[in-house]
């Protein structure tokens, strides 16, 4: 287990603040949860806690962005995606202003707080916005790379972060390449994993291995822009695809995979792993992931249906 993604991200923001004086950080009264307070302690003159007011936070960030600054807005991902969508779309995306949207407590990771706090529609919302980029890191190191990359962009970038310590996969990853990573090679089925679902997907590959099925595992943090080449090369070879995401199966990463392959000439069979079109519930994080199908066993079972 590595350090929690939010902890690593918060530390990185504070570290980058030392050399990048364009960074300004805003938070909506959750800076001790998002860890943006680490930056706030070091650079109080560049830190703005706006209270529980995500829409205003993003608006204030826009004003700062017009004057050459690079805002990082922090709040729970569900509230950024739902309460500040208008400001993100009509002010940041439309005007192509620089912004890092640090969506904390992504997916089911705010597990005990229940359905009101679990963010399973954020990716669908964010990826529908023109000029937006959407990155879902699989571990702390990838989140840091995503942050460094996002700060080089003169446009909004959404980074979905996890509340908890998730397994440190330690992939060779440079977000600036905007590419997926082939984590394990195989020829029978492609397992495309978005974000922290990578570890469950690797478990699934092991289960399948035991049954003589060679799975190719892709880590696909970029939902937008989407790395068609990496996915295409794999699915063209295997003819089978399972997409895995910690999100509703409506409009998210799986949908992005299908859209990306829709113009390809080859045939393939497909299964989606993610939260079905329903509300989730309170529980321990690991048990919630299993309940909603994000487990090695379920991913392997879906893959087996295709073989």
């Amino acid at each position: 287990m590595s350090v929690a993604m939010r902890e690593a991200f918060g530390k990185k923001v504070a570290e980058l603040g030392k050399t990048n004086d364009r960074i300004v950080v805003l938070d909506a009264d959750v800076s001790s949860s998002t860890k943006s307070g680490l930056f706030g302690n070091e650079f109080p003159e560049r830190f703005f806690n706006v209270g529980v007011a995500e829409a205003n936070m993003v608006g204030v960030a826009a004003g700062l962005a017009t004057a050459g600054l690079h805002p990082i807005v922090n709040a729970f991902s569900i509230f950024l995606a739902l309460k500040a969508t208008d400001q993100i779309r009509n002010v940041f995306c439309y005007n192509k202003l620089p912004l890092v949207i640090a969506g904390a407590y992504g997916g089911l990771s705010d597990s005990y707080d229940g359905a009101s706090h679990q963010s399973i529609t954020d990716i669908a919302i964010m990826r529908a916005l023109p000029e937006m980029e959407v990155i879902v890191p699989c571990d702390a190191q990838m989140a840091e790379s995503a942050l460094e990359y996002a700060l080089t962009q003169n446009k909004p970038v959404y980074i979905r972060l996890n509340r908890n310590a998730v397994p440190d996969v330690g992939l060779p990853f440079d977000a600036a390449q905007k590419k997926g990573v082939v984590v394990k090679e195989g020829s029978d089925v492609t397992l495309a994993a978005n974000g922290i679902t990578l570890s469950a997907t690797l478990e699934a590959a092991q289960i399948l291995e035991g049954k003589g099925i060679k799975a190719e595992v892709l880590a696909m943090p970029f939902v937008k822009p989407f790395d068609v080449q990496t996915l295409k090369a794999s699915v063209e070879k295997t003819g089978r695809l399972v997409s895995v995401e910690e999100h509703t199966v409506v409009g998210g990463f799986g949908s992005a995979c299908l859209e990306a392959l829709s113009t390809e000439a080859f045939n393939y069979s497909y299964r989606a792993v993610g939260v079905e079109d329903r509300f989730t519930e309170t529980g321990g994080y690991d048990e919630l992931l299993v309940t909603y199908g994000i487990s090695g066993a379920n991913i392997a079972a879906k893959a087996e249906e295709l073989v």
Partner: protein, 297 residues
């Protein structure tokens, strides 16, 4: 345009106009808005007209802007939070030299840089895209805070109507403005009392508005200014400069659809196309107003 006014607004370096000159100019610009809105059969007359004197006074008397360098980092900023009054802003910016006046008839046509609502990356001089109501104050706070982070010294003006004040975001921004106290942030209310669906008293009462600003910790002008009287507007500017307590709010009493008697105060003229008959009758009134004000030049 009257040749005296034309030479005044073309002066280089630009010299601020006085109240008499501003009044005559605003009357001319209002007519131009009316002409284009009629010819295009789309756009918002009511709120464009109610702010004609306010934006004219800002751009031709008050604001430090440079049409030759529209993104000058030290310029004063203006956000038309009531973005549907775009025809007003475009007319003022064109005559202030940001783009050719001959572009104005292209308002809201496909391919024109004059979008239905202001778009900062399409139209020179527009500091912020607006349209979805309620955004302006938050963004203005950010612009004003940026002047502090960047050690710059400029004013940020935000102009809102009642619609923006109905939006929850504005009240989030009101709260945060009194916390951060952004220097040189001026929130101007074009208080014409009429919204799309009816009077503000019927749709969503806002009075006592000044008291609300007070209770939110703002430095709000104790008197209500007349948003159609240039002397009153210049008095409000003097009040803005009277102390260093921020943020400041100024409420301007205005009339929706000002200048065309049968359109004044009518919510039906919020965004309705101007028909030919109303246009010919309205034009007579607007021309008479110009004549009256130009006689004083």
């Amino acid at each position: 345009m009257n040749p005296i006014l034309q030479s005044l607004i073309e002066n280089k370096p630009f010299t601020p106009l006085d109240a008499t000159q501003l009044s005559a100019l605003a009357a001319n610009l209002r007519l131009e808005m009316f002409d284009v809105l009629h010819s295009r059969q789309t756009g918002h007359w009511g709120g464009a007209s109610s702010a004609a004197e306010l934006t004219t006074a800002l751009y031709f008397n008050r604001m430090n802007v440079n049409p030759d360098n529209p993104r000058d980092e030290d310029r004063d900023r203006f956000i038309l939070s009531k973005g549907h009054a775009s025809m007003n802003l475009y007319t003022v910016l064109a005559h202030r030299g940001f783009f050719p006046v001959s572009d104005l008839p292209g308002f809201r046509t496909l391919g024109s840089h004059l979008q239905g609502h202001p778009s900062m990356n399409k139209t020179s001089g527009v500091d912020m895209s607006t349209g979805a109501l309620g955004h302006g104050l938050s963004i203005g706070i950010g612009m004003a805070l940026a002047s502090q982070v960047n050690n710059r010294d400029y004013f940020t003006y935000v102009l809102s109507g009642e619609g923006c004040l109905d939006e929850g975001q504005t009240w989030e921004a009101m709260l945060s403005a009194s916390k951060f106290k952004p220097r040189k942030l001026v929130y101007m209310i074009d208080y014409n009392g009429v919204q799309l669906d009816g009077t503000s008293n019927d749709i969503m009462p806002l009075d006592p508005l000044a008291d609300k600003f007070h209770s939110f910790g703002w430095n709000v002008a104790s008197s209500e200014f007349d948003g159609h009287d240039m002397n009153s507007i210049l008095d409000s500017f003097a009040w803005i400069d009277s102390d260093d307590i921020w943020p400041k709010a100024v409420i301007y009493k205005t009339v929706k659809g000002k200048g065309v008697s049968f359109m004044e105060g009518k919510n039906t003229w919020h965004g309705a196309p101007i028909d030919d008959d109303s246009y010919s009758k309205g034009r007579v009134e607007l021309l008479a107003d110009i004549e009256k004000k130009e006689a004083l030049l």
